[in-house]
Amino acid sequence: MKNDERLGVGILYNASLPEYLEEYIGNLDYIEIIPDMFWSDEGRGQTPRFRPMSQWVHQLDWIAARVPLIAHNIGISIGTMDYFDEEYIYFMQEMNKSYQFKWHSDHLSFLKLPTKGLHDHNAGIAIPVPYDEEYLQMIGRKVDFIRNAIDIPFLLENNVYFVEYPEQDYTETAFVNKLAENHQCGILLDIHNLYANSINQKVKSREYIDELNMEAVIEMHIAGGNEMNGTYMDSHAGPCPDEVWELLEYAVSKAPNLRGITFEFHESYFPLLQFDGLNRQLELARRTWTNHHQKLPEHECA
């Protein structure tokens, strides 16, 4: 099958979801996973390097038998300078053979720092890269490698950022557009990141969307957040604010190649959402989706 189907509305998997999925997996067109949740990384050069965590892989297999999967990576750390974990990419290649991901993605940031030991150093937070030519070239080379190794679309996600680098060579939209144009990667537009940046950094969200190459946008993320000491945090804290729904509607109207809208929430907020709250968020996302996509997702056409 040609890998360009529109999926619809999905959710980012977390540890609070198994019970919900048993009852409501039919409400979802796909599930996005963070691959690092399901395998234990034994360290560079170890055999096997990645070992399945049987409790989690069992759940993954159950999901994979029911809905399409998307992979959203945190382990590539594409923005780390002088570092590229090829073993990790080849492992993703193997996982893709098993699970047939529809696409996969990473963030425009660095999380890992290289060490001489078995494991890389975890920086603790995803730190955005400066939008400079040097970083553009470095990330572009990695995107080329990933695209050659894994034959599915690879997307990069816009950052949420709390501090700004002075004197960058590019704006974020120009940087992302260059990657999309020169290295044929797709864009994962995180609407909630953009909303957080509009509050904290006064980014003009609609202008940002107008500047972005929306033809390259394959997926959108939506989420909720909360304020902490005067800063709006991208904490995935339950339901999306109204402004995120409005921005989503605007962005979807401009994205002709959009294939999925993914709701993200942190598992610690499940008690706030509960089953009904989750269903409500998915219903609202689907309303926006169907406003702009008359055709039903493929698995509903049978």
Partner: protein
């Protein structure tokens, strides 16, 4: 080399409010630890003075403490307000902060166990709860067939039950000499009396 050092310097700042404060007071001693361009120094100078650095520092702490909370949840409940000073002390000596937090959580558990063994922490039932959660955490990363043998000084099931109802302080938990085998079967962690 300099961009790599810039990333390292930024990572050190978000990990430590003290380092941020030291850098604001005198940045040259911080800069001399790294190979940085003028532009990168200018960026670090600007970043550490922006309001958002406080959010980065908080996020770093939340991201680091969340795996400890989720994988050693009963241990954290027992420690209560004592947890944060302990993790802060632990982070100052942390040697293995890897992406999956597996080693980090186990290392924190061992750090607590050493304090219990040497009498620096003296809290009823903490040893038993920590033993149990460390074994569960280790097994969750291992293939089926692996197991751990556990011996508790007090009845572990009474401890867990009282902890879940918030009545552990007022419960007289019976002593125990039982030995248990904990293992993974059909994707679930099981515990049997030996």
């Amino acid at each position: 080399m300099s961009a790599r050092d810039f990333q390292l310097a930024f990572a050190q700042l978000v990990a430590s409010p003290e380092t941020c404060r030291e850098m604001i007071q005198a940045e040259e001693p911080f800069f001399t630890r790294f190979d940085l361009t003028v532009k990168e120094k200018l960026r670090l100078h600007a970043i550490v003075r922006q309001r958002g650095i406080a959010a980065c520092l908080s996020l770093y702490r939340m991201n680091r403490v969340t795996p400890v909370y989720s994988q050693l949840s009963n241990t954290c409940s027992l420690l209560g307000d004592g947890l944060i000073p302990l993790v802060e002390e632990f982070w100052r000596h942390l040697t293995k902060p890897s992406l999956q937090f597996r080693e980090e959580v186990l290392e924190f558990g061992q750090f607590l166990m050493n304090k219990i063994d040497t009498g620096l922490i003296n809290m009823p039932y903490l040893r038993e709860v920590l033993q149990l959660e460390m074994a569960m955490n280790e097994l969750s990363y291992l293939p089926e067939g692996e197991y751990r043998v556990l011996k508790f000084e007090h009845d572990i099931f009474s401890i867990l039950q009282s902890l879940s109802t918030g009545r552990l302080q007022e419960t007289q938990v019976p002593l125990s000499e039982d030995i248990y085998k904990m293992y993974l079967r059909d994707n679930k962690i099981e515990i049997d009396l030996m």
